[in-house]
């Protein structure tokens, strides 16, 4: 299970970074979204994995609970990353509509590369 999750986080990070390095706004935004997934899952996993142990107290039985703290932090992180994505989308859209161009670099010369 740990391996599955770790490899998924790695895959999401790799895909996110790759898209982040593209030169148009839309793939970059998608890349940022993937990176947010990776980061959120990463943070969540720092509380270690547990099955059938939600951190909801059981009044009637003594059962194990998983670590609630990373969950609380990640919950707000998910909502905030929505806010961030929305702002970035808006900036990208405004830039595209203003310049009729969705490139993310500012150079006049379209052919130049790193």
């Amino acid at each position: 299970m740990e391996f599955l999750l770790a490899s998924a986080v790695g895959m999401l990070t790799a895909a996110g970074v790759y898209l982040l390095l593209r030169r148009r706004t839309f793939p970059v935004i998608v890349g940022i979204s993937l990176l947010s997934y990776a980061v959120n899952v990463f943070l969540f996993a720092t509380g270690r994995l547990a099955l059938n142990a939600p951190p909801v107290l059981n009044k009637y039985a003594d059962v194990p609970y998983t670590d609630p703290l990373p969950q609380a932090l990640v919950l707000t992180a998910i909502v905030i990353s929505f806010g961030m994505t929305a702002v970035v989308v808006m900036i990208a859209l405004s830039a595209y509509l203003s310049s009729q161009n969705d490139r993310i670099d500012m150079s006049e010369n379209t052919g130049d590369d790193v």
């Binding site: 391996f3 970059v28 969540f44 994995l49 099955l51 909801v56 107290l57 670099d105 790193v114």
Partner: protein, 954 residues
């Protein structure tokens, strides 16, 4: 009056001049004056205590863990300086009222002036060196604003920049020095530091601390080789020069040296660095001043020279010299401020400051003539004025000083400097006021109104009175201030009087005065020689150094940044990965301590879906619709994964955020190209794959290693689990953490979310205000549009769904405290319910039915959360402490109430408002005339028939 209030008054008062300028220039200046007067009064109330030798303190622990306390104390030295700052400040405010012209923004001027004044008062009253440093930097910043007050003058802007660069970087050095000092002593409180002389001077860090602190003091007080900024700062309006460059800012460095005198002085290093620097500065300033034709430049260099004199006295390290330094600080402030003001009057009335174009003004401006003459003679050291007294004492101190076994060097240099000093003072009188009346002044000179000469006249009256009755007027002040400088030890023998008998100092004075007259008589000849000599021009050197630094930094920046964001991101990622790699290879590894969970079939299927979707996403990212769908798949699997791994709250949040995000991206995509063109080379793609692959491996490996090991330290989660029900009254620990344990975080987060939504709104407004609007109005869809914009099925279903969705939201909200759910999730679900209506029936239809603005919803959410938090104050508990209890109404089961519920309601509203405002802003782009369907939910067949009949008729 409390010292807090004295230090805070100028800052508080700084608001008024800027506001009251609308009520006129008098109101503005009066408010500045009243503030200063109040602060001065507050200071004087403390005078009896200070003169009794007490130290007035005001303490407030701000961040005691960091040693950062807002502690103030007032002793003799602080009293002297604070009195000078506020007293002369008051005179300057009066003077500036009449000096500034109608075109100058006076409100700004007084605001800057008061800010500066507050910073200065803060420096001299601070007991904590960290606090002192803050005020120190504030003086640099506010003086930058004041020197550059005439923004339209390039000289003003350059002078301001130069002053900021020099004093600001000196301030940085001083921060380092002060931190070292605080470290040696183990306290940042001045009162503690000042009692640890032996400890400090024995420390191996004494030298670095001394040098760094002295760099700070020397830059501020314009000591050689940092003296060059002061003449360039003369581009400021004269009231600023009179205030900053005679009595206050340049004295801050002296103040600091005097303040630190008890612990830093007395060593050879102190003597040779400080006294020598002072000596050089004194001579250099005096010589240059004689050959300056600009009145203010002459005064600026004379200030440099006198600052050098005081520095030298402090550098001698003897108690007598320290007393003389204090006395001369008072005298210099009185005559130099008066001189600057008189120079300002001359400039104001004749429209020139060039000495070569002046002369003979004594008949035309008799009042100014008297003021300037008395002040100049005092500066030259002519009895019975106050300048003479302190100069005699200075000469006396110099005569008894041996520099590297040479008893003649210091007195010799001081004599030459005194000679030049007298010469430029005489020149100020002779070349401006004496001589024949000319007929080619740029303007017709006459004495100004009383408002302008009152302040300098008051100061020269002091000059005369202090000269005649020194021990009566300033005797006690000199005594308490010097007592503070020498660290409360017994004062040495000195007497403030004119006649000390025939001694070496008197002979030196006579020689200097006679020599000065001769020098001035031959001024023309010397000037030709002076002008023929090559001299380093400080501004050119400074500009070259700054230009060099700018060029270097630009080169580095442009080398790293070619305005391509992809490149910045690549550099950033590579840097972080290498940093992590370095950490990995230099760190130590431990063995895994945990046994992993066996993965079932379902997780493996989910994993395959996730990996497949992510890979497809990268491969097919050029098709933007496909990539959006795949993002949705990824988000969905992650939600399921959260649920599987015991995080039901996260699963609910993730899935509802997913819905909103996809709708948002779809909306945006509507206006953007649907394809990403292939435009990168294969090499570049290969490079990016490598970078991405390594980052992915690193992150994956890190989290795997982390998950296979136990916690290195006991976690704080146990506390949350144990106290969630007892302390927070809820069984859903995640929700209790959000609304209770870490409620402050959540409070901040909903504010951030609200701000993000407002930013989006503002951005939309801004963009729609440009030509983009015209483009959008005439935009032709780039894809085939659906024949039916509002399909009947969808409209009906969403309408039916709305109450159900809202009910689910309410359910999720209420159960949130005990079961998975809560304000965040409920807010998202409610937002989705509303968005469905927008999607089904169109923006215009929904907007018409929208009764409350989303801004208001965000605001009310934040307010409700804040008020709930503040409710805890009524119970005498800190912000956001929650309370709860149980209610039992007979037919119902016993249920619980908690104040956290109110907080969660705030979260709910803020989330609803933010999500809706963001999406609504975006959908406003789509508005075009005629897009609104008249019958968005038309299920009236009759109308269809009418339409067809109409068409038939046509």
């Amino acid at each position: 009056m409390s010292l807090f209030l004295i230090a805070a008054l100028p800052f508080l008062g700084a608001v008024f001049p800027a506001l009251l300028i609308r009520a006129g220039r008098n109101a503005s200046s009066a408010s500045a004056g009243a503030t200063t007067f109040l602060a001065l009064l507050g200071l004087l109330v403390n005078a009896p205590a200070v003169f009794r030798g007490e130290v007035v303190t005001a303490r407030f622990d701000w961040l005691p863990g960091l040693g950062l306390n807002a502690n103030f104390y007032l002793d003799g030295l602080g009293f002297l300086f604070a009195g000078m700052i506020l007293g002369i400040g008051l005179l300057i405010i009066l003077y500036a009222r009449f000096y500034l012209s109608r075109e100058d923004p006076m409100g700004q001027f007084y605001t800057y002036l008061l800010l500066f004044q507050g910073a200065m008062v803060g420096i001299v009253l601070s007991d904590n060196i960290l606090l002192l440093l803050i005020f120190w930097e504030l003086t640099s910043l506010s003086s930058f604003l004041l020197i550059g007050y005439w923004k339209h003058l390039p000289a003003g802007r350059q002078g301001a920049r130069m002053a900021l660069a020099v004093t600001g970087s000196g301030g940085l050095a001083m921060i380092a020095g002060m931190l070292i000092l605080g470290n040696i002593v183990g306290s940042y409180d001045l009162t503690v530091i000042l009692q640890n002389k032996e400890l400090i001077q024995a420390s191996p860090y004494y030298m670095p601390a001394l040098i760094l602190i002295l760099i700070g003091a020397f830059t501020k007080s314009a000591q050689f080789p940092f003296h060059f900024w002061l003449p360039h700062a003369m581009a400021a309006p004269t009231p600023v020069s009179a205030y900053l460059h005679s009595a206050t800012m340049v004295k801050a460095g002296l103040f600091l040296m005097a303040r630190m005198w008890p612990v830093l002085a007395g060593t050879d290093a102190w003597f040779y660095i400080v006294a020598t620097t002072g000596l050089i500065t004194m001579l250099l300033g005096a010589v240059i001043a004689l050959f300056k034709d600009d009145l203010k430049a002459l005064l600026a260099f004379s200030t440099v020279s006198h600052l050098g004199l005081i520095t030298m006295l402090l550098g001698f390290g003897t108690k007598f010299a320290a007393v003389v330094a204090v006395f001369h600080i008072i005298n210099h402030a009185t005559f130099k401020a008066a001189l600057f003001m008189s120079a300002g009057i001359v400039d104001h009335e004749t429209h020139t400051r060039d000495i070569k174009r002046l002369g003979g003004l004594r008949h035309l401006m008799p009042v100014t003539f008297i003021i300037a003459t008395v002040a100049s003679l005092s500066m030259a050291g002519i009895p019975p004025l106050n300048g003479f007294l302190s100069k005699e004492m200075m000469l006396d101190a110099a005569v008894h000083t041996t520099w590297l076994n040479s008893p003649y060097l210091v007195p010799g240099v001081v004599l030459i400097a005194a000679l030049f000093s007298a010469a430029y003072s005489f020149r100020y009188i002779a070349h401006v006021f004496l001589g024949p009346v000319r007929d080619d002044y740029p303007a017709k000179p006459h004495d100004p109104g009383v408002g302008m000469w009152l302040a300098p006249a008051f100061l020269v009256t002091l000059v005369v009175l202090i000269g005649l009755f020194s021990s009566a007027i300033v005797g006690p002040l000199v005594a308490v201030a010097s007592g503070a400088v020498i660290g409360g030890e017994k004062l040495p023998y000195y007497s403030l009087k004119i006649w000390h008998g025939f001694n070496a100092a008197l002979y030196m004075s006579i020689v200097a005065t006679i020599g000065a007259v001769i020098l001035l008589a031959m001024h023309g000849r010397f000037e030709r020689v002076w002008n023929a000599l090559p001299r380093p021009e400080a501004k050119v050197i400074f500009d070259a150094v700054i230009g060099c630094l700018t060029a270097t930094s630009r080169k580095i920046t442009e080398g790293l940044h070619n305005r391509s964001m992809a490149r910045y991101s690549a550099i950033f990622v590579v840097f972080v990965v290498s940093l992590a790699g370095y950490g990995y290879y230099t760190g130590t590894d431990s063995v895994p301590t945990r046994i992993g969970i066996e993965a079932g079939v379902m997780p493996i299927i989910g994993w395959i879906c996730l990996m497949g979707a992510t890979i497809c996403l990268v491969v097919f990212h050029h098709n933007r619709f496909v990539s959006l769908v795949l993002v949705g798949v990824v988000g969905l699997i992650i939600s399921i994964g959260f649920n599987y791994l015991s995080a039901p709250d996260l699963a609910l949040t993730q899935i509802s955020v997913e819905v909103v995000t996809i709708i948002l991206l779809l909306l945006a995509l509507n206006f953007m190209p649907k394809e990403t063109p292939w435009e990168t080379t294969n090499e570049r793609r290969f490079r990016d794959v490598i970078i991405a692959g390594i980052s992915g491996l690193g992150v994956g490996g890190l989290i795997y290693a982390l998950m296979m090991r136990d916690f290195a330290f006991p976690t704080i989660s146990e506390f949350h689990l144990a106290n969630s029900y007892k302390g927070g009254g809820g069984t859903n620990v995640v929700n209790v953490i959000l609304v209770d344990f870490r409620g402050f975080d959540t409070f901040g987060e909903i504010i951030v979310l609200g701000i993000a939504a407002l930013v989006i709104y503002a951005l939309t407004e801004a963009v729609l205000g440009t030509r983009v609007r015209a483009y959008l109005l005439n935009r032709k869809p780039d894809m085939p549009q659906s024949g039916d914009a509002h399909p009947l099925m969808m409209v009906v279903v969403t309408r039916v769904m709305m109450p159900i969705a809202l009910m689910v939201a309410a359910y999720i909200f209420f159960r949130g405290h005990n079961l998975p759910g809560g304000g965040f999730i409920a807010g998202l679900i409610a937002a989705i319910a509303f968005i469905m209506q927008y999607m089904a029936s169109g923006f215009s239809w929904a907007a018409e039915r929208q009764k409350v603005f989303y801004h208001g919803i965000i605001g009310s959410g934040v307010l409700i959360a804040a008020i709930t938090g503040m409710g805890a104050w009524l119970n005498g508990k800190p912000f956001l402490t929650s309370d709860f209890g149980y209610i039992h109404w007979p037919p119902l089961e016993e249920f619980e109430w908690a104040t956290a519920m109110g907080f969660d309601l705030g979260v709910f509203l803020a989330v609803v408002g933010a999500v809706m405002l963001a999406l609504e802003s975006l959908s406003r782009f789509a508005w075009q005339p005629g897009i609104a369907s008249e019958h968005a939910m038309d299920i009236n067949p009759a109308r269809d028939d009418e339409d067809t009949e109409e068409k038939k008729e046509v």
